[in-house]
Subunit: 340 residues, 2 copies
DNA sequence: CTTGGCACTCGGATCACGGGAGTGCCAGAC
DNA sequence: GTCTGGCACTCCCGTGATCCGAGTGCCAAG
């Protein structure tokens, strides 16, 4: 009973602080919410909440603001995911339906997410690891150079130009192309890689060198770090809304946004699950970003989470709304990938 | 004589203001520079310079700061391009030598430029329009789908997947591939496009539909706006150094950085020439960016400027150093493209 | 357990004030 | 003519001093 009201007070504090951006006191709390008790009672509850570490005062005789622990409690136990409006759903659907290829899907998603949440959005490109090989193409460019193209089931296309030890004739490239495709088409990348490694030995010694070079390029393309680490970022202008500890938080944030490796670490383990995960303040891996939270989720066709998308914003954010937006976008994108 | 000293004073004001970020007064001017005259004399000159619109006072009884017109004069007539240090040259050379493909060149360039100038760097991907076709590849993906790959002399690769009205056999794809290549290889894009349009008519009616679809895809790839409009941005964290009118300037800047079309407009006509151009404050096309300057230049293999690169920063910047860095990077990148 | 009352604290806005940097102008020196 | 030193003036900015109010903690009574 009393415990319930304390949590209601915590929820009210979080909500008010998120919307007003100012420390919230007992008086304004009872004004804005129907708590059915007096400010004095609320004060007692607040003292208890502070004792337990859920809220804190910036200085004596100021209102209270939630701690990271307070936000955590709010997210875990005090908030219901806020359903999107019909208009928002429609906006998501129509915007994403129009996408023409994978790049476009990712770009549209990141814009959409930034717009919906008014935060900085991050979308990781679907990783290659679980997709399968659709086709391999080998093209003679002349001058002992080959173009090797790898086409994957997700629609991603990787290409590499390789230098050969010697010129190659049409017949041989055809043979290599054919055997490559018979070896890997339809395979998952891990299996395809395993088979490719053995392939050069099946050719006669004269061609082995050439095949080895091509295989090396394909292997490299399959395990390509650049593509698995690729991310799209949008809504950086929303950083300008930070307002409060502006330049304190914005600098490390901008730096992080330039380093895709850092961003991927930020999105973190969210990719493994397809539920929305929230990392609040210091819970994240970077000390400098202690005043920012990450809301992320995995996405991908079917049940598989091929990649991660999410947003980064100040710990003081509208978690229910943000989580709803992230989840909704992830679901729509997943559906699109399913169809493509 | 007197005129000369006035200009020397203007130069000194610009230099001091750039380095100290504070309005500069007559006293500190004579202290920091060997002008050989007294503060009173300098004051007279400053009054004249203000009269002519080169400098202004933020408020009465404060020092002077350069106006856009003052910076313009400084850039045009008062500054020598500051040569880079040997270390900087070496850094540019070694960093860019290691690039493995066009994307990598662009990415490295933008990082380099951001680092050298400590500003926000922008590099436009080389435009397709002046490059030539190196090879066209057509790959049957099954299910009446073809992959069309366009490889250009700049190293750019564009690919499109097209849906055919009907399944196609190996022989026909081979024929189409051959005739496509005979038609366009070595041609400039404009010429290639012109020839392609006529190509379907040369086939017999049964194949004409298929060829038309492939040609359409190629034409689209050749005139692809997405690739001509692609830009890479780096060093956004440097925005955090703006310091002065921080949030005033940073917001529109971040917004501009998200809109590649806007960025291209910012870089502007610089692409036509291969000399470094400077756009100062209000000279640029955007009212909101009146306190930022753009230093840009065209670059590309040989004498042709295929694209533009440059930096955006506060009007209060080190123009000689920045111009030198931009020019140096453009030259090195051009050389790399020449070799590739 | 709740509530009204009350004394207390402290941050932030406001204001007055003085120092200092800078200016403009003028009269005299070169 | 040109430069210079002197001087009065302006006004920004930092420093205290003051005051107000929101908010707190605690206590005694309901």
């Amino acid at each position: 009973m009393v415990e319930d009201r304390k949590l209601a007070v915590l929820r009210a504090i979080v909500e008010d602080y998120v919307s007003t951006e100012e420390p919230v006191g007992s008086k304004s709390l009872v004004d804005r919410h129907q708590l059915g008790v007096s400010p004095a009672t609320v004060r007692n509850d607040m003292a208890a909440l502070e004792e337990e570490g859920f809220i804190t005062q910036p200085h004596t005789s100021a209102g209270r603001i939630p701690t990271d622990k307070g936000y955590r409690m709010f997210v875990d136990r005090l908030s219901a995911v806020k359903p999107l409006t019909a208009a928002e759903r429609r906006a998501i659907a129509t915007l994403l339906e129009g996408a023409i290829d994978l790049d476009d899907v990712v770009n549209r998603s990141v814009r959409l997410l930034a717009q919906l949440t008014r935060q900085v959005a991050i979308v990781q490109y679907p990783t290659l690891s679980r997709s399968t090989v659709r086709h391999v193409e080998v093209v003679d460019l002349g001058n002992a150079r080959l173009l090797v193209v790898l086409i994957l089931s997700t629609g991603r296309v990787e290409q590499r130009v390789v230098e050969l030890p010697a010129e190659l004739d049409e017949e041989h490239t055809g043979e290599i192309r054919g055997r490559l495709n018979r070896t890997v088409v339809g395979e998952r990348l891990v299996d395809a890689s395993a088979r490719l490694v053995l392939l050069p030995d099946e050719f006669d010694p004269a061609q082995r060198g050439v095949v080895a070079v091509v295989v090396a390029a394909l292997l490299e393309a399959m395990s390509d770090h650049r593509s698995t680490e690729r991310v799209a970022v949008g809504g950086t202008a929303n950083l300008a809304r930070f307002g409060d500890g502006f330049d304190l938080a914005i600098r490390p944030m901008l730096e992080a946004l330039e380093e895709h490796v850092v961003l991927l670490k930020l999105l973190g383990e969210a990719s493994s699950s397809s539920t929305v995960t929230v990392r609040i303040g210091h819970e994240g891996p970077f000390e400098e970003l202690a005043s920012t939270s990450v809301v992320a989720t995995g996405y991908g066709p079917g049940d598989e989470a091929l990649a991660t998308l999410g947003i980064v914003g100040p710990t003081r954010m509208d978690y229910p709304g943000t989580m709803a937006a992230v989840r909704a976008v992830a679901r729509y994108v997943s559906r699109i990938l399913d169809e493509g």
